[in-house]
């Protein structure tokens, strides 16, 4: 069908129009075209009426070639439309289960792929006989019904029934029942206790990994939906279920850690984190949940345990993971309690373990407070003089490109150190930090207040810095030392090429890359463009452009002595405590 013949959005649409769209297979494209319709748009009403009257079978769309061609955003627009239709469609349980199965399968691994199941539960709730029929068919061994039994149980909301199936069945039917039980709201402690008892009974020595994972999931979810802390019995059930540390159980533990902040207790955190020590780094989905879970721990007062866990994990030689894969955790750490961040920094730098030291660098890589760099105070970390000096050196090695962080660590440690060690750290503050960053570090040190325990040392460093800069200034212009014009030109060309490549690379890495159409303005400092609105009217948008930039002070020694700088940073990074 020609696009022009498709009725416009929300425009009155007759049942016959809907029938025509269905008949010539333009129904799916019509859904896409009318996607911004809210409420109960005419097309939805027409489709439901046509289906329920028997003139069309809406389920047939999954057999169309046009259905196979749907992908990405277009598919989910259609799926959303169908999800809204499902609860109101007349169908046998088999028809509906098959339709929903097709919809879910088409969604693949996307987070929204399971949305049709929610619609299916609602479809069951509108006529509980449908749910009962599915449970019966599952009992009779009907595979499709077994797959959908958990949704039917959720629609029925019958905890007793669910528990009895859990206890009486096995295999996939039991798994399906456990999944359903986990998501039926438990109104009181007694019901929770009964569920825990049922779940505990099925975790026997020969319980398979899948069942164990389901029990973990069910136990935590049952309490989470009741907003109750896990009882001792529940915790014991959890420990039993997690015994063995299979990948799938670990994944459940990781999932359980995330989004359940309100029911977290010290014991639960300990049990889940213990299970996560069996994490397989190749399972990126699990790693992702661990990251989210650790971030939740930081947000709910269990940051120390999270740090402890990650420290152990990243220190293990058999684990090939970096802090970069725990970006949610990193973000929560930087945005959260500074004391925790300082503790982690001190601990990880002191360990000398490359992955941990590198981890502190990654955690702080984007950290700023407003326009200023973040600062860290490690004075309360209980470090001995020798430890403080070691941490100070590591801080330089790993935060060299974030010099204010390194300087703040040194300043915080100098104040509490004995004279000899304070002098040694003062030397580090001067070189390499102040020598390299005459602007950034100088500005930071000038802000150290008179009452700071490191004040005198800082003043001394500033004086040395001034003397050093005075030495550099004293030389003035020695024309004979300048590079030739030809070499300057070649270097300018190289630099410009390097900048252009960097810009290209940055554009590719941008989160906006590919999301929006790119417009290159050749002239002017504002743009005017026209966008056609939902009502078909053309709207004029004017946008004034503003400069956007970042500044970064280039370490002086990178030009003067790059090899020396490289060697020094290498030494600082790899050296270990004696």
């Amino acid at each position: 069908m020609d696009d022009d013949s498709t009725p416009e959005l929300n425009e009155a649409l007759t049942v016959e129009d809907g029938f025509r769209l269905f008949a010539d297979h333009t129904f799916l494209s019509a859904i896409e075209k009318r996607r911004s319709s809210e409420g109960d748009p005419p097309l939805l009403t027409a489709a439901i009426d046509l289906h329920n009257s028997g003139r069309i079978c809406l389920f047939d769309v999954v057999l169309w070639p046009e259905w196979a061609a749907l992908a990405g955003h277009t598919f989910f627009t259609v799926q959303h439309f169908l999800d809204k239709a499902i609860p109101r469609l007349k169908a046998t349980p088999e028809e509906m289960m098959m339709f929903v199965t097709a919809l879910v399968a088409k969604g693949g691994n996307d987070g929204f792929a399971n949305q049709p199941n929610v619609a299916f539960i609602e479809w069951c709730r509108r006529d509980l006989e449908r749910a009962k029929a599915i449970v019966s068919k599952a009992e009779a061994g009907h595979p499709l019904a077994i797959d959908h039994q958990s949704f039917a149980l959720r629609a029925l909301g019958d905890l007793q029934l669910a528990r009895s199936i859990v206890l009486s069945s096995d295999g996939l039917r039991r798994l399906s029942a456990v999944a359903g039980l986990a998501r039926i709201p438990h109104p009181n402690a007694e019901e929770l206790e009964a569920t825990v008892a049922a779940l505990a009974r099925i975790i026997t020595g020969d319980a398979d990994d899948q069942l164990r994972a389901s029990v973990v999931d069910a136990t935590v979810n049952a309490f989470a939906s009741a907003k109750a802390k896990l009882t001792d019995a529940a915790l014991a059930a959890l420990v039993s279920a997690l015994d063995g540390g299979s990948d799938i159980a670990v994944h459940s533990a990781a999932q359980s850690l995330f989004g359940n902040g309100e029911i977290l207790s010290a014991q639960l955190v300990t049990i889940l984190l213990a299970a996560l020590r069996h994490l397989n780094p190749a399972n990126k989905g699990t790693v992702n949940f661990v990251d989210l879970g650790l971030a939740d721990l930081v947000g709910h007062g269990f940051g120390t345990q999270a740090v402890e866990f990650l420290s152990d994990l990243l220190s293990r030689p058999d684990i090939d993971l970096s802090v970069g894969e725990f970006d949610s955790f990193s973000h929560s750490l930087v945005a959260g309690d500074r004391k925790l961040l300082c503790g982690l920094t001190a601990r990880w730098l002191l360990s000398g373990v490359a992955a941990l030291c590198q981890g502190t660098q990654e955690i702080l890589s984007g950290a700023t407070t407003g326009e200023k760099s973040i600062t860290l105070d490690l004075s309360g970390e209980g470090l001995t003089d020798e430890e403080a000096y070691f941490v100070g050196r590591k801080a330089i090695g790993f935060f060299f490109m974030k010099p204010v962080v390194a300087a703040s660590i040194l300043v915080s440690l100098i104040g509490g150190a004995s004279s000899e060690w304070a002098d040694a750290m003062q030397d580090l503050l001067f070189e390499p930090l102040l020598v390299n960053y005459g602007g950034t570090i100088n500005d930071y040190l000038l802000e150290i207040p008179e009452g700071d325990p490191a004040y005198q040392h800082v003043q001394h460093v500033l004086a040395r810095g001034e003397a050093y800069l005075e030495g550099l200034r004293s030389v003035g212009a020695i024309k004979e030392l300048h590079p030739s014009e030809q070499n300057r030109l070649l270097e300018r060309i190289r630099f410009s090429e390097q900048m252009r490549e960097a810009m290209k690379g940055a554009r590719k890495k941008s989160v906006f890359h590919g999301l929006f159409k790119k417009s290159i303005m050749l002239y002017g400092n504002r743009s005017v463009s026209f966008i056609e609105g939902p009502d078909g009217d053309r709207q004029r948008f004017e946008m004034e452009l503003h400069p956007l930039g970042v500044t970064h002070e280039w370490p002086r020694i990178e030009t003067i002595d790059p090899v020396g700088l490289q060697e020094m940073l290498f030494t600082l990074r790899v050296e270990q405590r004696r």
Partner: protein, 575 residues
């Protein structure tokens, strides 16, 4: 052109600077110079004495009293160095007693010679003096900057001998002194054309040498005014090499050409040394200031800093070489002063190294020439401060080892500036092997480390080479039979590469092999500059054309040191 020359003449700072060109100017104009400027001798007011050109009748004796800059009231009659007392002395002492007997009957012209103008307030006094003292036999002439410039343009720089295109090159070289590489390119064209034009004519060769000498002087004086001696320095090196090439055919002959060219060469060495010393003196105060020279390069690329500082080190090495040569050539009471200079520059260079860590590893293998020049200078200066040199070499070996193993920042065998600035973070085998295809640095370090007994460094080098540099050709470069024809002009590739040198944990094998080869091949001692005793010319050619320093010049002492070490070792083990 005349403006350039006039400006040059008026900018001469010392009387000696004007003295330096006048005798050649007079010779070129046909005068017979019988007395040249000399220090420490009683001259009775006469700086230069000459007989008028043979075609000029009657012949006259010209007595020149030379002063710098403008003739002011003070220059005229204030103190013993003023012009009037000099003129009195000429009349009272020189004319009656010092004119050679064969010229005793000739009329005399006393020339008041100065680079600038005569100021108006003194003119009446000078005119009065001249009228009072002019006699039938004695007359006076004023040779001011304008007249000397005119004589230069009509003489040594006249259009027949310096055609318009060459003049244009000369003018551009002077005009573009603040862009030294461009100025040098113009000067190089001038030098090449003068040499080509003068090849088959003795007189033309002498004239070309004088023209180059004068051109270097003009560039130097202008460069000094602009506070930029880079182009004059490079021009003086090239002029020296060109004049050597002009002189080569006459070496050993009794001809006037040999005498005249040797004279020009000696003067050119003087002006080159003056330029080099002035340039280094300008930089010397900052050699002890941490990072100051590196920052003074004013570049955002470390490659520029590295190249400039090693270049500077090479220049210090060369100045040291000249000082040593002067000591050897003309032993005198000034030897102690020269030795003090040698010690001073060696100390300054080491201080510069210690305060500029860019000098702890070159970015390009060709900078080995600068390292070798300095080490040679250190050796001939008496090898003092040995511990400081050892620390430097050890640091270099450590950095070389680190950069080679991390494949980042190591010296590249490419000498193309574009290659050096385009070095990437590529650590692949192919990239690494391309940039470390050959090394003169490692054999040079091995030889000197062996001489100094730096065993840990030698072990580091041999391990590094065995483990990481199997693909790299370890080599040194020396002269061959075709070198004397090309070393000074760099017209064609020449010399021989001593390849596949063994880098072992003692370094002895390399030293022995190189020493043996140098002994076998006579091309080094056959070099005209070596035969004539002008070895620094060879060093200068290596520095200027960026070719490695032939080991022939240092392998002897290096071998002796290694053998001494070995003997001590054997004695110790025997005991």
């Amino acid at each position: 052109m005349k403006l350039i020359i006039r400006e040059y003449l008026s900018s001469l700072r010392e009387r000696e600077e004007l003295d330096a060109i006048l005798p050649d100017l007079l010779s070129e104009l046909g005068y017979t110079v019988y007395s040249r400027p000399a220090r420490g001798t009683v001259q009775h007011g006469v700086d230069i004495a000459a007989i008028s050109p043979s075609g000029e009748e009657p012949s006259k004796v010209y007595l020149f009293s030379v002063k710098r800059g403008d003739l002011t009231r003070a220059e005229w009659n204030n103190g013993t160095q003023a012009l009037r007392p000099s003129l009195d002395e000429i009349r009272d002492a020189y004319i009656p007693t010092r004119i050679p007997a064969e010229y005793a009957g000739l009329n005399i012209v006393i020339c008041l010679c100065f680079g600038g103008d005569m100021q108006e307030q003194v003119r009446a006094a000078v005119t009065g003096y001249i009228s009072q003292n002019t006699t039938d036999r004695i007359s006076f002439e004023e040779w001011n900057g304008d007249k000397i410039a005119g004589l230069l343009l009509g003489g040594v720089l006249r259009e027949e001998v310096l055609p318009r295109p060459l003049r244009a090159n000369f003018q551009k070289a002077v005009a573009l002194l603040d862009e030294p590489d461009v100025a040098y390119r113009h000067f190089a064209r001038l030098a090449a054309q003068l040499r080509a034009a003068a090849q088959n004519n003795d007189r033309a060769r002498v004239r070309a040498a004088r023209q180059l000498y004068l051109a270097v002087w003009v560039m130097y004086v202008w460069g000094r005014d602009l506070d930029n001696l880079e182009a004059p320095y490079q021009a003086s090196e090239l002029a020296l090499l060109t004049v050597w090439e002009l002189l080569k055919p006459a070496i050993g002959s009794d001809s006037a050409t040999n005498t005249d060219l040797t004279s020009v060469l000696t003067q050119l060495i003087g002006v080159h040394f003056t330029i080099a010393a002035e340039l280094l003196e300008k930089i010397a105060p900052f050699m002890g200031t941490r990072d100051a020279l590196a920052v003074a390069v004013q570049s955002r690329t470390a490659v520029d800093v590295n190249l400039k500082l090693f270049d500077l080190l090479g220049r210090i090495g060369l100045v040291g070489g000249w000082l040593h040569w002067m000591n050897q050539r003309a032993p005198s009471e000034s030897n102690n002063e020269r030795q003090a200079q040698l010690d001073r520059w060696r100390g300054l260079a080491l201080t510069m190294i210690e305060n500029n860590p860019a000098l702890w590893l070159p970015v390009a293998d060709h900078e080995t020439t600068d390292i070798a020049l300095f080490l040679l200078f250190w050796l001939v200066s008496g090898a003092g401060d040995g511990q400081r040199v050892a620390v430097w070499l050890e640091s270099m070996v450590d950095r070389l080892n680190f950069t080679m193993r991390t494949r980042s920042g190591y010296p590249s065998s490419s000498s193309d500036y574009r290659d050096l600035i385009h070095r990437t973070a590529d650590r692949s085998d192919a990239y690494f092997e391309e940039h470390t295809a050959g090394s003169t640095l490692i054999p040079t370090l091995t030889a000197w480390a062996a001489a100094m007994g730096l065993t840990p460094s030698l072990e580091t080098l041999s391990k590094l080479v065995a483990e990481k540099l199997g693909h790299c050709t370890m080599q040194l470069w020396s002269t061959a039979t075709d070198s004397d024809a090309n070393l000074y002009t760099n017209e064609h590739n020449h010399g021989r590469a001593l390849c596949d040198l063994p880098i072992t944990a003692t370094g002895r094998e390399l030293v022995a092999m190189v020493a043996e080869d140098c002994k076998t091949d006579q091309s080094w001692s056959d070099l005209s500059a070596v035969q004539a005793g002008f070895e620094p010319i060879v060093l200068l050619a290596c520095r200027h054309w960026r070719v490695p320093l032939p080991p022939d010049i240092y392998i002897g002492p290096v071998k002796s040191a290694v053998e001494r070490d070995l003997a001590n070792e054997e004695q110790a083990s025997g005991a």
